[in-house]
């Protein structure tokens, strides 16, 4: 105790309530797309600029194509929002994305923002209810642009993105910039866990008439609680099964019979317990469980809870005014504190789910530790292969070709090293695919670096092995982005590309030999088509660039290597960089 929300989420406390006020105000003024306000902070005389978006209660602004209205995010605007391990692009609610796009033009020209950038002021995007997702997307947009480092505060916001979305926020270290306030029974933050239905439209209609006629209370709809929460609890129990390591095959079979919402919480959640306490939760799995469990029926009857779930959506201002004054804030990270959880009214079953969520995080760090311990072993094997490579250079053949011939004992030992390394990297790959490693694993410099070294040194051996056995006849060609190329190399390549901000599929220097082999085969089968000539030219340009920046080792230029023999046999009209490459080859020969 004693900590304030601001401390826990890294933002000055004085800004939270004004931001909430502005958010509610903006939500109810649909004529303006957003409102801006400068807030002076008393103790250090700085100012924070708050920008709040307007909301909408039209069903088409919430629910798109049934059942969930999901759409893949536009990676042109949000290049980071994609998985680096084959999980695809992040999925978000299409209606919210559309509304963000509508406001983007005006937003990027807002003079208040330009001024804030100029004066290096902290910017906070804020949104209440359906404006929450817009605030999230705006914050992300500027984080991607790197022009600003904004924060995001939402109040009673519906869910926006899927698991990948949350994964990316944590991978990039942005998760702490997003704070979502949620009332214990508020139905809106849970509404997206259920497929779109007439009940949800009833809820929106209710709020519409409530906001329109401020004094008269319209009759609340009924029956929606069971639908929404029933579906939401399917999602929660499905995730809990996974957290608890349930391995009954039925789990996934049953999943194909129902439609589970793809949306998951991301960022930091602050739950308002309703009696003046606030609970801060960062673990996304725990957030999901609390979202469902704390809104469950207690002793009181359904109608009462149903009414409460509507009323609390419009109670943020009064609730926050109370809580923020007191310092009754508890963080849940680092173990559930029983007293607070009683405030949330969690059942023993919910506690189990929370423990499982925490245990899952612990397991991920343990897995990371395990992989760290493997690093040493990886380095030993890499060192062995390096020596092998040096020895092979003496033969004027290069290690690619001598490995392909497999004539010596050394070649055999190199093969064993290659296979052992493949085992370790495949384990890493499996863990990444199943989210069994911390979300920021792919951003850790030590792994990006070892991945780079590993890929450049060992992948040529895999390629040699592949074409030695002519596996292209069985599994199709060794293609850079898909097909027979092992995923461990694809992953390592994407880490590097992401780290260097390069487009995906640009750093394929380790596949150089594969392209040479494949071109050789294709020429035999198809002749010198224009498409093949283009590929040759591309290869030549890449070769010069990669030899230049030393990302490709120059032993491909050895006189007897596959590449040199193949390239020299090409008809002259197919080559575009004949002289420069000939020079490179000669240079290499002179150095030996």
């Amino acid at each position: 105790m004693g900590e304030t929300v601001g401390n826990l989420i890294g933002l000055n406390d004085e800004v939270i309530h004004p931001a909430a006020t502005l958010a509610v105000e903006a939500h109810n003024s649909p004529s303006k797309q957003f409102l801006v306000k400068k807030i002076k902070i008393r103790h250090d005389y700085s100012s924070i600029v708050v920008l709040a978006f307007s909301g909408s209660l039209l069903p088409e602004d919430w629910f798109g194509q049934p059942p969930f209205g999901k759409t893949e995010i536009d990676t042109g605007k949000f290049p980071s929002l994609t998985s680096l391990n084959d999980g695809g692009d992040a999925v978000v609610n299409g209606s919210f994305l559309r509304r963000f796009n509508d406001v983007l033009d005006k937003l990027s020209h807002a003079k208040e923002l330009k001024k804030a950038i100029e004066k290096k002021r902290q910017v906070v995007f804020s949104g209440y209810s359906s404006a929450g997702p817009i605030a999230i997307l705006a914050t992300l947009y500027f984080l991607e642009n790197r022009t600003l480092s904004p924060r995001c505060l939402t109040f009673g916001s519906p869910l926006l993105g899927d698991r990948i979305f949350g994964h990316v926020l944590r991978r990039e270290g942005w998760s702490d910039y997003f704070t979502h306030f949620v009332m214990k029974y508020d139905i809106i933050p849970r509404i997206m866990l259920s497929p779109s239905s007439t009940e949800q439209e009833q809820i929106l209609n209710y709020f519409k008439s409530k906001f329109a006629r401020k004094n008269i209370n319209p009759a609340p709809p009924s029956g929606f609680y069971l639908t929404v929460m029933g579906n939401a609890s399917s999602v929660a129990s499905y995730e809990a099964c996974h957290l608890m390591g349930c391995r009954n095959p039925s789990l996934d079979i049953i999943k194909s019979f129902i439609e589970l919402s793809p949306y998951r919480p991301s960022g930091t959640y602050v739950f308002c317990t309703g009696n003046g306490n606030l609970v801060v939760v960062k673990n996304p799995n725990a957030v999901l469980q609390i979202l469902i469990h704390c809104a469950k029926l207690g002793e009181s009857n359904t109608a009462e809870v149903e009414k409460r779930s509507l009323d609390e959506h419009s109670a943020y201002l009064s609730e926050l005014k109370e809580c923020l004054g007191m310092q009754a804030v508890v963080s849940l990270d680092g173990g559930p504190a029983t007293a607070t959880l009683n405030d949330l009214g969690l059942s023993p079953q919910a506690m189990l789910c929370l423990q499982a969520a925490e245990e899952f995080e612990n397991r991920r760090s343990r897995n990371l530790e395990k992989i760290r311990n493997c690093l040493e072993k990886i380095e030993v094997e890499i060192e062995m292969l390096r020596k092998y490579k040096e020895n092979a250079q003496i033969s004027r053949l290069g290690y690619y070709d001598s490995f392909k011939l497999q004539n010596e004992d050394d070649d055999f030992h190199a093969n064993v090293s290659r296979l052992e390394l493949a085992g370790i990297w495949d384990e890493i790959k499996e863990m990444l695919k199943e989210f069994e490693l911390p979300d920021d694993f792919e951003k850790k410099p030590e792994f990006i670096e070892i991945g780079k070294i590993y890929r450049r040194l060992v992948e040529p051996l895999d390629i040699a092995n592949f074409y030695r056995h002519r596996k292209d006849k069985e599994t199709g060609p060794y293609v850079i982005g898909r097909g027979a190329r092992p995923k461990r190399y694809r992953f390592a390549q994407r880490w590097l590309e992401h780290d260097e901000n390069k487009p995906f599929g640009s750093r394929w220097e380790s596949c150089f030999c594969a392209e040479v082999e494949q071109l050789g085969i294709d020429i035999k089968e198809k002749g010198y088509l224009q498409e093949i000539k283009d590929r040759i030219h591309q290869l030549e340009r890449n070769l010069i660039a990669w030899i230049g920046d030393e990302s490709l080792d120059d032993d491909v230029l050895l006189e007897d290597s596959t590449f040199v023999k193949w390239w020299r046999d090409l008809p002259l009209e197919c080559k575009s960089e004949s002289d420069r490459i000939e020079n490179l080859i000669r240079g290499k020969a002179d150095r030996l």
């Binding site: 039925s250 079979i253 069994e436 292209d472």
Partner: protein
């Protein structure tokens, strides 16, 4: 937790709704809800026939081929058997012409199929689901199938359950059993005692029960009539429980007033069936058979309720807490004498190994990489044999190997790899690996290459040690089950379009049919037999076999699907072919006109 998930989904309620429709209409009813097809079987039809078990392989119409298929290694077990009357009952649906059309029509326009039924209907639904799964397997379709039964009787014996586990179909079955329902427990009491006391007990019983379902007015009368029977049966059951030839399969979802638990371990299911019944009364055991509707509806409500502990002190660990919750969900928490055993039983069901399947899979790739050097050594061995001067190829070199260190090492590697792959298969069958494991190219490819490389050595070893003389030929009698399993994996993988139109231009690095050498050995045996065969008819048959082998081998060689070692100068294949040509030319005066033989005409 799985129970919570299941009851939170609309699948259970939708199934029950359709089941009651089917019960009152007394026919098969189908429906579509959100793209999922539901097929419900009526539980109202009385079964006829004996109350004993019949073996599946004896079935004349060859139902459920994958379950019938038993590998040589399982010969000593009982054959899979199921309840005769129920099988007959299923046949009455199965043989009707509308059945196939109805089901196929349903499949066509839906993304998933639920088979469901109450009481007897549940048993029929299980068999129909098995039939559908077999059918889908034969056309390599991956349409999800789920079978949900309500108060269904036990169906088959232990081998039957295990056959289902082996096919990895157990997860497709969910049997809902309410607190005291006695039908699912009916066959737990030994059959002889049951039928000895009341020869027509079972039959009568069903008839009466279904009458209850149909009319409310007579309920009281029938109830009174049934009670004594049930009382006696309950007494019987308490005396001689679980010594039953029947064994449960799939998941069991137990409903009580307090909640639900889901158990999939067969032994634990048997125990739970018994434990939850201890407080049953004859009245409640009938009532519970009929009120599944209440249970399913209540379950979805209960989810949204906040449950609290009725037990005094909070449990120490989360593991204990989970168990206590589960016991409470069975409605057994307040019954001192039973809650202890129930806890043990659920503990057993939870299994000790708590690593998740995905971690197991990740871990397995480490173990694979440790085993890969053994394979690499065998590859190395193959290459060195292929190049050596005796030009025999690695099959014959291994078969004729002396007491060389190299040969012994390779043989050792062969055994180590076999152990590794057997373990993988075991883990897969006991669902310790992810459900989509077989969709991962890496594992299917690895097993395939392993098979192509190592099986020839197994064959060589088999014929080297002369096992074919005592056990018969390899293909029928000696082939390890894992190779057959790998064959199925390889066949079941998703094949891209680009692969099939590639024609080989060089010989494959490994012969694409791993049983090639076994076929060579058999052909050699036939040739030897012909030499000593005097009976024309027999030798004609042998010629026919040899001819088909020759065609098969030529096709393989022409398509370059064999590896170089097959064509080595001194390989037993080359020798065999030479000998065959030689023998043919010697027997020119008796030209083997194969087509003529095929027509049954003897040419002198």
């Amino acid at each position: 937790m799985l129970a919570t998930f299941l009851s939170s989904t609309p699948v259970l309620q939708d199934s029950w709704r359709l089941c009651s429709l089917a019960n009152s209409a007394a026919t098969v009813v189908t429906d579509h809800v959100r793209g999922v097809a539901y097929v419900a079987f009526p539980g109202t039809v009385m079964p006829s026939g004996g109350a004993n078990l019949v073996a599946l392989d004896g079935a004349p119409d060859g139902l459920f081929p994958p379950l019938q298929h038993r590998h040589a290694q399982h010969q000593h077990e009982d054959p899979p058997m199921i309840h005769a009357a129920i099988l007959d009952h299923f046949r009455s649906f199965y043989t009707s012409t509308t059945f196939h059309n109805q089901i196929l029509a349903v499949i066509e326009k839906s993304k998933a199929v639920v088979m469901t039924g109450h009481s007897m209907g549940g048993a029929v639904a299980s068999l129909s689901a098995l039939w559908l799964l077999s059918y889908l397997q034969s056309i390599t379709s991956s349409l999800p199938v789920l079978c949900i039964t309500f108060g269904s009787p036990l169906l088959g014996n232990d081998s039957f359950s295990r056959a289902i586990l082996r096919e990895r179909w157990a997860g497709n079955f969910c049997h809902v059993v309410s607190n005291h329902d006695f039908i699912p427990r009916l066959f737990l009491a030994p059959l002889p005692s049951l039928s000895a006391h009341h020869p027509h007990f079972v039959l009568q019983f069903w008839q009466l029960l279904m009458n209850i379902l149909q009319s409310d007015s007579e309920t009281a009368k029938i109830f009174g009539f049934l009670l004594p029977y049930i009382q006696e049966w309950v007494a019987n059951m308490e005396e001689e429980c679980v010594e039953s030839p029947f064994s449960p399969f799939g998941n069991y979802l137990f409903f009580s007033e307090e909640g639900a638990v889901c158990v999939d371990d067969a032994a634990a299911v048997g125990k739970m069936l018994e434990l939850m019944f201890t407080k049953a009364s004859p009245g409640s055991s009938i009532e519970d058979h009929l009120k599944y509707g209440d249970y399913t509806e209540k379950a979805s409500w209960q989810l949204l309720m906040r449950k609290s502990f009725t037990l005094g002190e909070p449990p120490e660990s989360s593991y204990e807490a989970g168990l206590a919750l589960a016991v409470q969900s069975c409605g057994l928490a307040n019954q001192e004498s039973i809650s202890g055993p129930a806890k043990d039983c659920l503990k057993m069901a939870k299994r000790v190994n708590r690593l998740s399947p995905h971690l197991n899979a990740a871990n397995l790739s480490i173990i694979l990489s440790k085993n890969v050097p053994y394979r690499a050594q065998i590859e190395w061995y193959k290459a060195s044999c292929d190049k050596s001067d005796d030009q025999m190829g690695y099959y014959d070199s291994f078969k004729l190997r002396g007491a060389s260190k190299k040969g012994a090492k390779i043989n050792m590697n062969r055994c180590l790899l076999a152990g590794f792959w057997d373990n993988v298969i075991y883990m897969l069958e006991s669902s310790q690996l992810p459900h989509d494991f077989l969709k991962r190219e890496k594992w299917v490819n690895a097993s395939h290459f392993y098979k192509l490389l190592v099986e020839p050595l197994d064959i060589a070893e088999y014929y080297k040690t002369g096992k074919h003389l005592t056990h018969g030929h390899y293909l029928k009698n000696g082939r390890e089950e894992r190779y057959e399993i790998f064959d199925r994996w390889w066949k079941g993988r998703e094949v891209g379009n680009e692969e099939n139109n590639n024609r080989r231009t060089t010989y494959a690095s490994l012969t694409q049919d791993s049983c090639f050498w076994a076929r060579v050995e058999e052909a050699r045996d036939w040739l030897d037999q012909i030499r000593s065969e005097s009976d024309m008819r027999r030798s004609a048959m042998l010629w026919q076999d040899i001819d088909s082998f020759e065609r098969y081998a030529t096709r393989l060689v022409e398509n370059k699907e064999v590896s170089m070692d097959v064509l080595a100068k001194n390989s037993s294949f080359t020798l065999l072919m030479e000998e065959l040509q030689d023998f043919k030319s010697k027997t020119q005066q008796f030209p083997p006109q194969f087509p003529a033989f095929l027509n049954g005409e003897m040419v002198p």
